[in-house]
Every structure is written in C-alpha cells, then in structure tokens.
Point group: D2
Chain length 371, copies 4
C-alpha cells in the first residue's frame, strides 16, 4: 500500500506535482556518516535537467535541490533525508485545454477515472517531472555506494531511437557524456540529431531503448523469490514514465535461443569463477553473479504531439486535440539518468538487505577468498 | 525485506524446496465469505502439473493441495489460508553430482555464494517447483475474483518457441486447453510438437515467449508511482524462474514507433470511452484503462541439458557437466499457468488496494455511469 | 525497514530535525476528493504549539504548515500530501554544551552509539519537535475521517500529573479546551497550575498520564493477528517521545481482576449489541466492538532539567550537567494533541484496510441492520 | 496490510485455527548456516504446552513441531522456514453452543461482525492456541541469537496474579523453571497454587502481570522514529491474546515521578557508560542503551468461565451463557513463554535491521572499544 515508496532497506518516497510549488523525495534507511551535500546531488540532476539542448523540452527549470534534513555538518545522520526541488517555470496558462480533454496515450483519463479529482496542470503527478525526485534520491544512493562499493560503475546510454540502432562495435563509454543523446558512439551523433530534428519538424515524436550497465557489482545481491535482483530492476524501470518493456541480459531474445547457446560456461579464474559469456546479464536465480548486470528497457514515443489526434473530454464530447506545450520529441533521452538513479537505488537496497540477512558473508569456492 | 512474499493487500508467501517434505503458500488478506475448496485450487495445479505430456519433465508429482487453514465449511474466513503440497516423487539420488558442481545457467553458484549453505537437491529453493505454490495461491485469487469481478478473464498462451511464432491471424482461444503447448492455434500443434521433439533428441532445450491477456478488468486499478499496475505485473513475471524480459502492450517494440503511430485515439461509446487501438496494452500512467491488459514475457531455454557444458565445482575444479535428471526441454510451457496465477494475484491485489483508497468510486465522463 | 513511516493503507513518513531548516510529513494513501487546506491542519498544530502558556517551552515557533503537494483546488487528489513546517526560532547557541555531553534520560547517548554522527542541536531528530509533523499528518487523517466517519470523536486529556489525578466524577469534556492542561475539570485547573509552578521553580519536571477516548468508531476495525487495533494503538502511543506505558481499557489493572468482574456482559439493543460495561476499552480480539475506545499512556518527566545531574561526555569524561534551554516542565501536556493525531491516523488506517479486505460489509446479528 | 505477519527483516507469518488440521509459522529472513532442528524448537514449545499442570487447560496437545522447509542437513539455508504443528486433541463437540452465542469478553462477536463467516470451534483464529506458532517462530529467533548474540538472555516470569504480587526482594531466577507459575520465588509457589485453586473452584478466573527481562542486549538496537525498540516491544506484547497494558521500565508509574527521580545518571566504566539506575528500562529514544531491557504487561482474566454471564446470540436473542470446555483459570501463566518468544523475535529483527543500516558500527565514547 506504499504507493509512492520504492525500496525496502533503502527507501525513498517521492511527492509533488508538475506545477505545484515543489517536488521532492523523502529518503529513509540511509547509512550514517556518509559525506553528502547539495552539490553532489546536483550533478545528477544537471544531467537530467530540461532545456539543455534543442532535443529536450524547452521548459526552463533550474532543478536546484535543497537538503532539508538528515545531513549535519556535511555527513548523513541516519535520519530521513528530505530533498526538495522548487518548481520555478510552471506556465500554467499553457495547459488550459487539458483541464477538460484527455490526451491520447496520457494518464489524464486514467487519473480522472480513478481519482475523480486531479491536478491536470502539466500532467500533475503523472508528469515525467516526478523523475527529478528519483534522480535526487539516486544521488543519495550514489553517495552511499561510493563508500560501500567503490568499484561500482553504473552507466546508462541509448541503444535505439526509432529506426536508429547503436552500432555495438563502435561502443565508446567516453562518448556518452559528450552528446545530448547519451550515445556511446560519437560518430553517430550527427545522424541521430538529424533524425530527431526531422521527427520534431514533422510534429511527431519517437520511441527509444536504453541500456544500463552495472559493473563492479559483487556476487550475492538479490533476495529470492519475490525480491530477486532482476525482479526489482524490472519494477524499477517499468515504474518510469512511458516504459513498456524491460529486459535482463538476452531479454526477449532468450525465447529464440537453445540451451547450448544460452549456457554461460564457467572456468576458474584467479579471483573466483570466470564466466565465458553473459547471456544471463549478470543475474542467476535472482542473485548477482559478479558479472556486469545488463538491463535494457523501451520508452514509448512522447504522447504529447502537435499533430491532431482524436479523443474525448470529460463531458464525453468527441474532439480533435493538438497538444501544445514544451515537450521532448523523444522522452527516452532524459530517461537515461533516471534509469541510472533507479539502478543505484536497487543495488544499494539489496546491498543493505544482504547485510541484514547474511552479514555480507559469502560462500567459498576452492581457495578463493571468502568475501 | 519480505523476500518470499508477494503482494500488498492480497499477499502470499511461498515456502519449500524441490526435494523437501512439502512446499506451499501462506495467503493473507483474503476477503471473507468466498467459496473455496481444494478441488477449485486443484484445477489450476493440474494445468501446471509435471509429467502430463512427453514435452514436460517426467517427474511424477500428484501435486495434491491441502488447505490447512482459513477456510471453514467451504468458505473463507478472512484469516490466512495455508496451502500445502507434499512432495512425493523426489528421487534425490538423481541429483548426487550437483551437490558439488555448479550447473551453468543455474542458481547453484549464486545461492552457494550468497548463502554458503544450500539445499542442492533438485535446485532446492531455486527450482521451478516453487511455482506450484504460486499456482495454488493464484487459485485463491481466482476464487475471490470470480465473486468480485465476474467478467474478468485471464488467458495465458505461448506466442513463441525458439524459431516458431504464433500466427496471430489464426488465434483461437478455444485451442489453448486442447494441446500441451497452450497454443491458441490447433493447426500448428503438430509442427510445434515435432520441433520440440527434435530439440529434445538433440540433447538440447529451447526458449519461449508467453502472453497473458486480461479481459474484463475495470478501469482505475493501479497505484502510481511505485505500485503501478504495469510495474507490479513486470515484477510478477520477472520473478518467475528463467524469465528474462517483460513487455506491456507494444513492449520493446515501442522503441521503434512514432507518436502518431502509437497514440491510442479515443471515441465515446455507449458505456464510456472507446479506444481505437491498444498499443498501451490496457494501462496508462500505471492505471488500467478498461481495455484488455496485454503482458508478454520470455523464458530462457532450460539450463539443464544433457549436452556437456564446461563449469566448476565448489572446490574450484574445472569440469565438464552433463545435467541428467528429468527436465523440461522447454520450461516456458509450464510457465503459462504460473503467469496466469501471478496476473490473478496482481489484479486482485490492486482491486483491494483501490477499494482501500477510493472505495471503488470512479470519476465520471459525460453521461457514462459513475461505476 | 521503514524506520520513519507509520501506517499501512494510510501512511505518513516524518522527516526533519529540531534545528534544521524545516520538518514535515509525507502522507500517502490519502483518499481523493477530500476538502483540505492549510487552515484546517493549522488548527491542530495550534493546539500543540509551544510557547502558548507558561507551562510549556518558551521556544516561539509559528508552526505554520505549508501543503506542497497532493491538494489541488482545495481537495485531495490521491497523490502524496507533503506538509512542511519551517523552523524559525532555533537559537542553536543555547545548545553548545550538549554537542559533547550526554543528557541523562535523553537519546543523545544512544543516537551517538548507534549512528556515530548526529545532529545534537536541540536533540536533532530525537526532539519532541518531531511530533509537530505527526500532528500535521493527523490533520489530514481528521479531514478524511470527517467525510468517512462523521460521527467519530477523538478526545485526549490529562488524567494524571505527578501526584495529581483527574477526579473522574467531575469529568467535563467541555473544559478540556479551556485550560493549558487539557484537563476535563475546570475546578482543578488552579491546583494543577500551582503544582506545576512549584515543580518548575524547584528546577524540576514531572510525569503525566493521558487518556484518549474514541467515540463513534464502528465495529469491525482491526486486523488480527499482528495488526490488531489495540496493537497499532499501543505502537502509536509508545512511539511518542518519553512514553513508557500504554493501556487499553482496564490496562495494567486487568491483572488484578477476576473473570466475573471483567466480563463485559451483552444485551440486545435497538441498533445492535448493547454492552453493560467496557472493561475491554472497546476492542475484543484486536477488533473494535463499537463501544468507545479507551487508550491511556504515561509520559516520563522531562529529562532536561536545570538541577545538575551526573553524566559523561563523548570523550568519556565524567561531568555534572545542567540542561539549560527552554523546556517544558511537563512534556506530557503537549503529548495530548499528538496522541489524538496518532489515534486518528490509526483509526483511518484501519478503516481503509477494512475496506480493502471486507469492502466494509458487516456480519448481521438478529434483525440489526447489516451495515 | 500484512495482517498476520510480524517483523521487518526477520519476519514470521502465523496461520491456523484452534480446531483446524494444523497451525504454524512461516519464518522469513532467517540468516543462513545456523544450526536448527526440531528438538531445539520443541524445548520452547514444551514450556508453553497445555495440560502440564492442573493450573492450565486440560486439553492435551503434543504440540510436536515439524520443520517443512528452510533447513538442510541441520542448518538453515536462508530460505523460508515453515513450522507446522498438527492439532490432535480438538474435541469439537465441546464447542457446540458457541457456534451461535457470543461469549462475553471474547472475540466471537467482533470476528462475526467483521468477517460475517468465522470458524467458531474453540475460538478459531482468535484462540490463544495461535501463540504456539509464535513460540515456534521464537525458537528460530533464539537459534540465530545464540550465534549472533551469545551473551543475550531473555527471561520471562510472573510478577502478579490477581491479588498476589511477586516480592522482588526474593527474586530468584533459578526458581522460574521449577514451578508451574514461572514464578521467581520458590517460597511463594504454594500460596500462588492455593490462590489459583480457589479461583478455579469458584468457577472463576484471574488476571496476571508478566515481566520480560532482556540481559546482554548491546546498545544501538532500535530504529527511530516509528520502529523504535520499545514501540516494537509494545506492539509485540499487545498482540498477544488478552493483553491490556504494556510497560517499559517505570511504565505507567513514570507519570508519578519527577525529573530528578527519573534521571538515570551516568558514570564512565571500564567498558563504556555505566548507568546508576534503569528507570528507562534499557531504552532511550527508542534505542537500546546496553542496560537490561525491562518489559511488563498485563493479561486479563480468562473470559471463558463456568459462572453464567448475560450475552446474546447471532439471532439477537438474549441468553445466559456458561462457557464449558477446558480453559486456563489464568491465561497469563502460559503467556510467559509467548512473551519471551516475541521478545526474541523483536531483538533479532532489530539486530538485522541495524546490520542493514549501520553495518553494526558503533559510535565511540572516550577510549571505549568502538563496537
């Protein structure tokens, strides 16, 4: 019944609407003594911030985070960390029509049916603006992980946008931060940019697929049966606005494989098991293997487009609707830092849960170190 | 931290190992006064039962369920329903080697690393045998849904097995129960049977994709942001053994679409909104629209195959392993009733949660009935 | 693991420290469509506000609540309600010494031992100032209850302060709001006032006992076995700062009774069962009977006193400590509105839980209305 | 909404009715590798078993526990431990009348009102027989605590029965196990025995008060604000059948004290803080201090007595009821091992939660060891 809370041992609750005075996250279960300040969290928010390129919404939000509790003299105290982001550029006047009409593909109609009364301004609670609060919470998780798992690296990037696919042979992690698409291939940026420009000029929008790679995750995280690591990652990604599919490792493609193809054979390395492949995406039986964790998800095209669509309003009148406003032509782009934040929260949550149950002890294989 | 519990308002906890004396589910939050007996639950278990065709494991389990609590004079009392299935055909001798060796693609190695000490017999807790307990719990959910949502229909079926795809033009729901593949196309059964025979004779196994269709679900179920209906369905399916991907509606394919393609336009029907398409798979903003809910997931090929695979044992020795025993050549087949059970539990859970928050009240559109 | 969250279906998470920039509550599970504004909540906060009489701390806090989310055009939307109270009169300079020293009877030493790093200013998170956030959350609960249970009345009052006891023969509910002690006996106010003055002038403090009476609660609320109504009320009260005991009905005195004395005999009234006594305090088997619910709890004397006490500091040095600052001589007084708020949250939580499981249906007795 | 589940990191769910085929507990979150067998758990059940003296019910239950899962080769595996106790001496015929009539002081009427349909045999789910399942779960907790906190000692005993009080000057822990009253004073056993005989012969019953002492609990356990150690202990005890009051340390008596009396002054000992008194009962701000934890609770007199009481039946008829059957004249006696079990579960739950958040690190005082 915790509708707006995510996580078990490391938990955050997000609150706030797109055009309310503020939004934020209440983060609970934070280990004490961890260095944390607003600048640290801000770096994550800045990656998600709207208005940074022509490919994202032109809404201008500073997205300045304030820490209202849980941090004293620059370190966490173990009490709830309250993160608040004030909304500054709300322009409610843009959204007059949608007070009455239901945008196709939007939560307008389902919120209306469920709650009867809703904040229609900018989508209210169902707006992707909520993801700013997740990114802030993810910043807290990243601060704790920096201390507890210093070798962990979480990297999100686009692998598909409409007709365009990442050429994995050209994968270059260094390129990701250097272009507005979080694309790990500098040579393809111009093509992606032209493609999206054309989509936008055509009054249209387009879907995307994002991959998150978690490297340096130790084996043993994941709590079968119903808090498996992949289960929680799937829930985390599916909870992001507009996500329609989630994959671990081979994902939906696993349906096409045979057992001989799919087996990740194992050899013995100096430091423990050495896997010859990673079809599993780093998770077996819901528990991390120590290999890189690979999560992929799709984001549907932005539903708010300026091409007219047939719909109804709350009086049951049939209308044609053009959704004006300042919308991303590909909402998938800004889902990248959101997905990284969710992955960080899931990994930390499982690390703490594992500490609770096993105390971090690990089973021994051969002469390999026990932990 | 409830590792083995699923659900919020309608909750079940599964317990038991593949070769222990019994396994089962503790089901809590059951509404009182609902007619329920063992025969009702047994019908669901019988659909999943092993040994019913040459295409599933030859392990012979009666899978007879006993209700130990929560039901009195044929009706639920609102107290926990304990469901127990005794294991009868365990043959532990079959599993001697895997006490030491880690089967590639199995949870053997991750359970060993996490827990140090594990029940290796038949995979212990990580065995797909655990899913019998889910099916039993799903039977309780189905009994309640029969009363509360009499028009609800939950139908699972195979849509892919390795190289073979369901021809959707030939979709026939009546065929599903008439063949060992839960295939909604009687004309393709022979081909699927021959294909799987060949896989099995080749000492191999194969992956699959399953779809679950939920018809008759009212609008308004789903609790944003972190208990969205699609989030919970994704978690439910991903928690099933060997599942590697989950899709809602267009799923991963949404990445390829444009906004004009993807919009589900709306007209006004006699009884409320009428959608002209269902790319969304029946869920918008995490809340059901009233359209059919479409969930799809992939199951990787059975990892236990009789073709030798390279692996290690707990002493760190490198070995070649042939996994003998009685394994399904396509574990995806028996995932069908499991997925239906999980879907039933999710729908009921959300129905009860919605009763808690909104009292089942619905927002009104035009002159449509308020519900 | 939700350390700072209370409730199941109606949940609130409090955050904030005594001398941080703000504190508040994130309230989730709120039914939609309920009229709510800041003025409504403020009336509850004003009853608890410090500095209103010479008998409470002279710290001057406006305790102005702001609603940051979850309310639109004066009604709840079903999304999280964020309540924020800014701290205005913090005077951190008062608290220099306790940065190092552990006040006897305070959480200073246990927070230090558990968390290592703590916000020592004014007790940080362990300050009774946290209870303002509860009162605000309780205001949300009261708004919902006003709609769902219009006949419900929750009344808290002092029944004991040190050597003084309420004379129950003089009980007058109308007097409660007319004196600084929440005392239901106007004739005793002067005596209580003189007594507490003497305590304060003596550099001392004193304990108290508070009773909360819940009238108009329907039968059937409470979820056995581990979410009994009395269990949750006990947890609610014990979670309040300085509370050391909780009683339902006869309370600790039940140990002295015999079965014939204690039985609440039942007759049949026009509208259902009529109980001839209420030793049970309105709860049987964890479920409300429909009789008034009676909860009582003790509050220990304020630990911060200006009489020197022996203690140690964080360097292990033995010192004598006088706790200066602005402390209530009897913290029990201001616990009254806090306890009412907690009772309101528990009742609403159970009302929503009951709606989830039973749909609000009630068993029938004779010709009494079924509900 | 987890009605029948207790705990967070260490969780158990009880199930079963008084006269159903079996009852038990599903225990989740158990650390792996802990030695556990049925004989270990049985010792705790044997202390609670009915029919062991003339002072408890003459129902003869073997209360033999079976472990159905979660233990392999004598050690826990980290998967759910299912504990089942079959009911053998049910004699449903004794309970014919209460199928229709509501026993005063019993949950019969509230279960009827809430659930409509109930198992009336022997009180069904509301029977104190449920506590056998708690004791079994407590046995699992005790096995884990034996490994993790070898110095911990949890001791329950009677301090009051009706008019009789324990003389604390004669407290002798060794006496507790040597008499049917769990009385820590061998010299008073005859008097207590005669007193209870008289009560029973008088067709009556009597209340009791029990104290649980937890020695050797380290400082730092407890998770403010809403999972305080004392909050959880209060909930644990209040959830036991017939309990009406719970106290920590001074308990309700704290209302009578002044701040100078109540302060537990602190000196520096060789191994850390040394408290000069323990009014707090070992808990400050919801966190353990390292002193003995003192919990006390009252149990009302058995409601089932053979003296006729006025009541109604489900048809609304007014009747006089004599409750026959085999009932304890003082149910408080058998609450002693139940309370010990609950205390063990709470302590372990908090130990695991603390491992999750702080990793078991402790703040340092002076030169005292850090952990």
């Amino acid at each position: 019944m915790s509708f707006n809370t995510f996580g078990r041992a490391f938990r955050f609750t997000t609150w706030g609407e797109s055009h309310g005075p503020a939004l934020g996250a209440t983060v609970d279960g934070v280990p004490p003594g961890v260095a944390l300040d607003e600048a640290w969290i801000q770096q994550f928010l800045d990656r998600r911030r709207p208005g940074t390129s022509k490919h994202t919404t032109q809404r201008r939000e500073a997205d300045q985070v304030r820490i209202l509790s849980g941090v004293f003299e620059g370190r966490t105290t173990g009490t709830p960390v309250q993160l608040m982001i004030e909304n500054t550029d709300q322009r409610s006047k843009d959204y007059g029509e949608i007070a009455q009409a239901f945008r196709p593909g939007h939560a307008d109609i389902t919120y209306h049916l469920k709650y009867g009364h809703r904040d229609y301004r900018g989508g209210g609670r169902s707006s992707a603006r909520e993801t700013a609060a997740r990114v802030a919470a993810g910043g807290v998780a990243q601060a704790v992980l920096r201390d507890l798992l210093p070798d962990l690296r979480i990297t999100g990037y686009m692998v598909r946008m409409g007709a365009l696919h990442l050429d994995r042979a050209r994968f270059d992690a260094n390129a990701i931060g250097e272009n507005p698409f979080f694309l790990p291939d500098a040579t393809a940026v111009q093509e992606w940019s032209d493609y999206l420009d054309a989509i936008r000029k055509d009054q249209n929008s387009v879907g995307a697929a994002i991959e998150v790679l978690v490297e340096g995750c130790p084996p043993g995280l994941g709590a079968p049966i119903y808090a498996k690591l992949d289960t929680d990652l799937a829930a985390a990604m599916m909870s992001i606005n507009a996500v329609k599919g989630v994959e671990i490792g081979e994902g939906m493609g696993a349906a096409a494989l045979t057992g001989t193809d799919n087996a990740d054979e194992i050899r013995m390395g100096n430091d423990g098991p050495l896997y010859l492949s990673n079809h599993a995406g780093g998770i077996l039986g819901g528990i991390s293997t120590g290999q890189p964790i690979v999560v992929r998800f799709s984001v549907k095209p932005t539903s708010s487009i300026t091409t007219p669509r047939r719909t109804i309003d709350r009086h049951g009148q049939q209308i044609d609707l053009i959704t004006k406003g300042r919308h991303d032509p590909c909402v998938g782009i800004r889902a990248v830092p959101v997905a990284e934040a969710m992955a960080a929260c899931v990994i930390l949550d499982h690390l703490l849960m594992d500490r609770a149950q096993t105390g971090g002890q690990r089973g021994r294989i051969g002469g390999a170190p026990e932990n």
